[in-house]
Symmetry: C2
């Protein structure tokens, strides 16, 4: 069964997080919500209990590791050692690493995991891209597949969250057929 980790910290953007959880679970993937802490609270005060902590998820392998955005979330993910280890492991094993909104600029680029790759993020959060060796692209969703080094799926904000989640489904499966079927059922 396809396994996906969604990493969350306090301040996560609701639409980005729940669009990913919703769509990846509709795809029949085994989705683990892993928090910086056991419970996390969104930017606008929704508290959820995670399936486990990022630390507890460290020993497991995932077909995709996805980090929703939100400024608080992006900072919390950036300073999480297990989040970084999970991101690095995903790419080194040729899996998918996905980020959206503030996360690619505030969390991922400063780790150096996107060096030499193309990516996007929320406009204004791309200031770290140059130093992190990342080429900033202003498309809705940017998919950078580098054979042997994994696939990066980045996107821009709440309004692009569903497109981002469908792109993660397609990146994992290597086909857009399933995502297209999900889009139809969800009136996307």
């Amino acid at each position: 069964m396809v396994s996906v980790l969604i990493g969350l910290g306090d301040g996560f953007e609701e639409i980005e997080a729940f669009a990913a959880i919703d769509i990846l679970r509709r795809a029949k993937f085994n989705v683990t919500i892993a928090g910086v802490t056991e419970t996390v609270t969104s930017a606008r005060d929704i508290t959820i209990r995670c399936d486990c902590t990022l630390d507890e998820a460290l020993g497991r392998s995932f077909d995709a590791v996805a980090f929703p955005g939100g400024m608080g979330q992006a900072k919390a993910i950036h300073t999480s050692a297990p989040a970084r280890a999970l991101a690095e492991k995903a790419l080194s094993r040729d899996k998918v690493l996905a980020g959206i909104c503030a996360t690619p600029g505030v969390a991922l680029a400063p780790w150096g995991v996107m060096r030499g790759r193309k990516a996007t993020c929320y406009p204004g959060c791309e200031g770290t891209f140059a130093a992190g060796g990342v080429e900033y692209v202003t498309e809705t969703v940017v998919v950078d597949r580098t054979q042997g080094k994994g696939t990066l799926v980045t996107s821009r904000g709440p309004g692009t969250a569903m497109a981002w989640a469908y792109a993660v489904v397609s990146a994992i499966e290597g086909s857009e057929a399933h995502a297209d079927q999900l889009k139809k059922g969800m009136l996307f």
Copy 2:
């Protein structure tokens, strides 16, 4: 301060619920999440603690009452006496009643609260519309304003959830300016 009630039961559709909560809180409205029970679990297993129960919200007045969709949610809302009372009160006081996805067809039309009005819902859930005296329209979002009888804001599914939430903002404020500003910031 503008007050909005979002009514949730088990089986609620995540994107529809959290897009509404996110966008209406970004609009600086006082958003109360009222559950059929104190905690509710979404269609794909996200459990949240509500701000109060629908029963506890009964004595209060709201500028808008919104019910996200999901089949379990729609059935739970339909059989909730306080949910029905809150919906009827909103319309009788010329406020906003909003529903999306399965909810207009499964919960609202059978209550009779949309009689003589135009509305939409998830394709296939409109079977109750004729008996409920509702004209089924296939637009993304349908806003039916009847002076003195409130405004109905209905929509179709997860892919139309953000458009639905922005339409609720505009229906409350009688202007699209604020919603347009929110759309821009959220890259919608």
